[in-house]
Amino acid sequence: MSETASAGPGAARGLEVRDLVVRYAATGPAAVDGVSLAVADGVLALLGPSGCGKSSLLRAVAGLEPVAGGDVRWDGASVVEVPVHRRGFGLLFQDGQLFPHRDVGGNVAYGLEGPGDARPSRATRRARVAELLELVGLAGFADRSVATLSGGERQRVALARALAPRPRLLLLDEPLSALDQGLRERLAEDLRAALAATGTAAVLVTHDQDEAAAVADRVAVMSAGRLLQVGTPTELWRSPAGPEVAAFLGFEAVVPRAVLGAGDAATVALAPGALVVASSGAGTTDGRVVRVRARRGRTEVLVSVQGLGVVTAAAPVGWTGSVGSSVPLVVDPDRVVPVGARSATG
């Protein structure tokens, strides 16, 4: 869609969400409470715990939920009143939602069969279907019944179907959550590759930080309907905006730096393994061993530290210690990050 008269001087390219509010009831808290963000290209992940409003935000952008306040714009023009099927925003659900009465090829071709002059010829459609099935690694599946597909294959078909009409934006609603771990990691890579190959801008909703980091160029962390922080994965993990973001990103404790023995009063967050059991006798602090466990072949020690609570400490190879004993700990500075010192966002 070309820019229209309503595109003001500050009009952004691509998707722009301004102060968006989504409500399911006239009273009560809003599911999305004044969120603003922009996506021009690349993939933006909306990361947040269940019920934080990320799916509602996505559905409002798609046109599936009414907008109670704020605006959704594309290239500077509001699309709030544009019907879902004219927005050109593709959508991929968690469980694919393939049409059960169409075969794989029929599903992928659905978005190419619209009425009007824009409808490509039969041969073109068939070529496009083949091209997309090839892209998602399902070449030759066109005549298969969707009932015979595995969970991963279904999601691949759904992805091919969503990409076929060349959407200007792809909305991905937890597309990998229904799959098991190994498949999820492999499909995340394939998803990223497919989006890059087609040059499609996308918004990915997920509650899985690894998935967000693997697929997205930028990550937006949401909680209780509000946007807490937007940044690249690196920025996010290097400098979470607050204790809530830090906790959601997997940091174990948020404390003044002074607690770690030396330093100022600035707040820092500790990633798992920020403390290491000292191999020599001296440590900067002491902890009491709560539990010793093995994780992927490495030894982890849950230690209780004064002022920190229970955190995970890394142990050197071959370390043995008994529960209840006191161990010296040193700080791994790479795993301690400042909190609240906001870096560039957006």
């Binding site: 409500r23 009831a25 046109g63 907008v67 879902v84 179907r161």
Partner: protein, 607 residues
């Protein structure tokens, strides 16, 4: 909250007031979503959309209003109003007759006994035919279903030829007795219990029963304390349906019971056609309306409870291979005694179901002292005192049934489409639920009431100098009114089971509302379409209650013809009645079988 809940919460399946929210949706959120006129901006429906849905709502309302609501209102009015003033003397008069109380008692007694027997036989049948696996099961299931799709007149004739003096079971002395009628009603309704209860049983999660066993319960105690309580809503729902079908049974009772064992239904007919007391008939119709409405209310409640109680195990996983002897390596005392009892009961029932059918065919071939096709050949000739030949009546029937099916499909599919919508606005949702209740009414109101209503309402309709009562269109219209609820109940569950996100996906792929309706909802509903056509066609072909009021004397339908023939003395007429019954039964069975083949797997119908 998972993603599924987030996306499923807003478009609740509204319009079903009794439906529970999808599993997992927090109650507060569900309530909010149901209440919520979530004010906000968004795309507005186009003019074409508004017009289309308006037509879709108006067409069924006008058709059902004219040919159902109005006749029923005319009937009720006739009972309450005389010379323009409220007058309850008609009620006093009718209720002062001992005959009235006798038919009411008779109706309740017949329906109660038949319901108890049908449930008693049907529950073991449901277990054997739906929970167990054995070779030939599908065949037995199909055989069990046959009686339910047979026209009621045919059932009556089949039992009469069985129980009549000189018939194979004449020695029982059941001809024209309560026992004979109850047997016929059970024959007709056994499949209702088997399919309703069996559908639930087949999906019942086996793990609670296994947990009970590991806690020390014997197979008998598990059945009593775990399995039957889980099935109770389904059994109650089936029982109320059977009671409804029995209490409104007309053709079967009329053929078997004659005047001695009349029910409210047959009494309405006798008062109208033989005694010409329209007022008494109208009063009895009101009685029947109250009776049916009460049963429907109970049935609706039980149905809702059953739907809430359902989401169970997966289909295949719960079935088990039927073994009557212990296989080495399995423990003793696994309740095989119960299995044996259920199998014996079911086997005897299946044989008992086959006897009347086989007997009907055999008897129709009996000519004098020998055998032959004379009765069938006579179907093409007009008998003395009859306006047309049976073959002509068959042509009339088929034509009327085709017209009725087209009308019922148009109205029924429109209704199902509208009822499957999930409007966002509270007003829209309320409108859908009201329409839902309105179109289900014809299912409950007896066909005889519809027929009588036609007679009362369509004479000088709206004060016009017209008499629609002799219009040949009346028969298909009456049949369509009776068939519409069948169509709705076949198509609607399929439409309602479409995941709300499927149309949403189609929209994001660029499909407009019309194309979504056609390529998603429509394409999926078409799978149930074949079955809907079959039900509508079969119901119209065999329709007797309403048709017996409105069929013109010179153009009877096949069921009406059968009834006339069986009522005439003489071996000739009797033989012809049997042959005509076989013809009607075969026609119906062929229609159902053909349409059942068109049905896509996974669309299970529930009566």
């Amino acid at each position: 909250m998972t993603l599924r809940e987030e996306t499923a919460a807003p478009p609740l399946p509204v319009g079903v007031p009794s439906a529970s929210p999808p599993a997992g949706v927090p109650a507060a959120r569900a309530r909010a979503a149901r209440r919520g006129p979530a004010q906000g901006r968004g795309p507005r429906p186009s003019l074409a959309q508004v017009l289309g849905w308006t037509v879709a709502v108006l067409v069924p309302l006008v058709v059902l209003g004219m040919f159902f609501a109005w006749p029923v209102v005319a009937t009720v009015t006739r009972g309450f109003v005389a010379d323009g003033a409220l007058d309850l003397s008609g009620f006093g008069d009718v209720f002062a007759r001992p005959r009235t109380w006798r038919v009411i008692r008779q109706t309740l007694l017949q329906a109660s006994v038949a319901t108890v027997v049908a449930v008693g036989l049907g529950v073991p049948g449901a277990y054997v035919l739906h929970r167990c696996r054995f070779p030939g099961r599908d065949l037995v299931r199909a055989l069990v279903t046959v009686p339910f799709v047979l026209p009621t007149v045919v059932v009556g004739v089949a039992f009469r030829s069985l129980l009549v003096e000189g018939g194979p079971l004449g020695f029982l002395g059941w001809d024209g007795s309560l026992a004979g009628i109850v047997a016929a009603l059970v024959f007709f309704n056994y499949a209702v219990v088997v399919r309703t209860v069996g559908g639930t049983w087949a999906q019942l999660d086996e793990r609670p029963a296994q947990a009970a066993r590991s806690l020390g319960a014997s197979p008998g105690r598990v059945l009593r304390t775990v399995t039957l309580p889980a099935l109770a809503p389904a059994i109650a729902s089936a029982a109320s349906l059977v009671f409804l079908f029995c209490a409104t049974s007309f053709g079967t009772v009329l053929v078997l019971g004659g005047l001695r064992h009349g029910t409210v239904e047959t009494e309405i007919w006798i008062q109208t056609v033989q005694l010409l007391d329209l007022r008494a008939a109208a009063v009895l119709s009101v009685v029947q309306l109250v009776l049916v409405a009460s049963v429907l209310l109970v049935a609706g409640r039980l149905r809702a409870r059953r739907e809430r109680a359902l989401p169970l195990g997966t289909r295949r996983a719960s079935e088990r291979v039927l073994r009557l002897r212990r296989v080495p390596g399995t423990p003793r005392g696994e309740g095989r005694g119960g299995d044996v009892a259920a199998v014996v009961v079911t086997a005897l029932t299946v044989v008992a179901l086959a006897v009347p059918l086989v007997n009907l065919v055999v008897r129709s071939l009996r000519v004098g002292e020998g055998w032959g096709l004379a009765h069938y050949r006579a179907l093409a000739r007009r008998a003395d005192g009859m306006p047309v030949s049976v073959l002509d009546a068959t042509v009339t029937s088929v034509r009327a049934a085709l017209d009725a099916t087209v009308l019922a499909l148009v109205v029924g599919v429109l209704v199902a489409l509208v009822l499957s919508r999930r409007p966002r606005a509270a007003v829209g949702r309320r409108a859908v639920s009201v329409l839902d209740a309105v179109v289900m009414l014809p299912l409950g109101v007896s066909a005889v009431t519809v027929g009588l209503g036609f007679l009362l309402a369509l004479h000088r309709p709206f004060g016009l100098d017209l008499d629609l009562r002799t219009s040949p269109l009346l028969v298909p219209v009456a049949q369509a009114v009776v068939a519409v609820p069948l169509v709705v109940r076949t198509v609607l569950p399929v439409l309602r089971s479409v995941d709300p996100r499927l149309p949403q996906v189609a929209a994001t792929l660029g499909a407009g509302p019309g194309r979504v309706l056609r390529t998603v909802d429509g394409a999926l509903a078409a799978r149930a379409g074949g079955l809907a056509v079959g039900f509508a066609l079969a119901a119209s072909l065999g329709e007797f209650g309403a048709t017996s009021f409105v069929a013109r004397a010179d153009a009877p339908t096949l069921p009406v013809m059968v009834y006339r023939l069986i009522g005439r003395p003489g071996a000739e007429s009797y033989g012809q009645a049997l042959a005509a019954s076989v013809l009607l039964a075969v026609l119906t069975a062929v229609v159902i079988a053909a349409c059942e083949r068109l049905r896509a797997p996974g669309t299970v119908s529930d009566w």
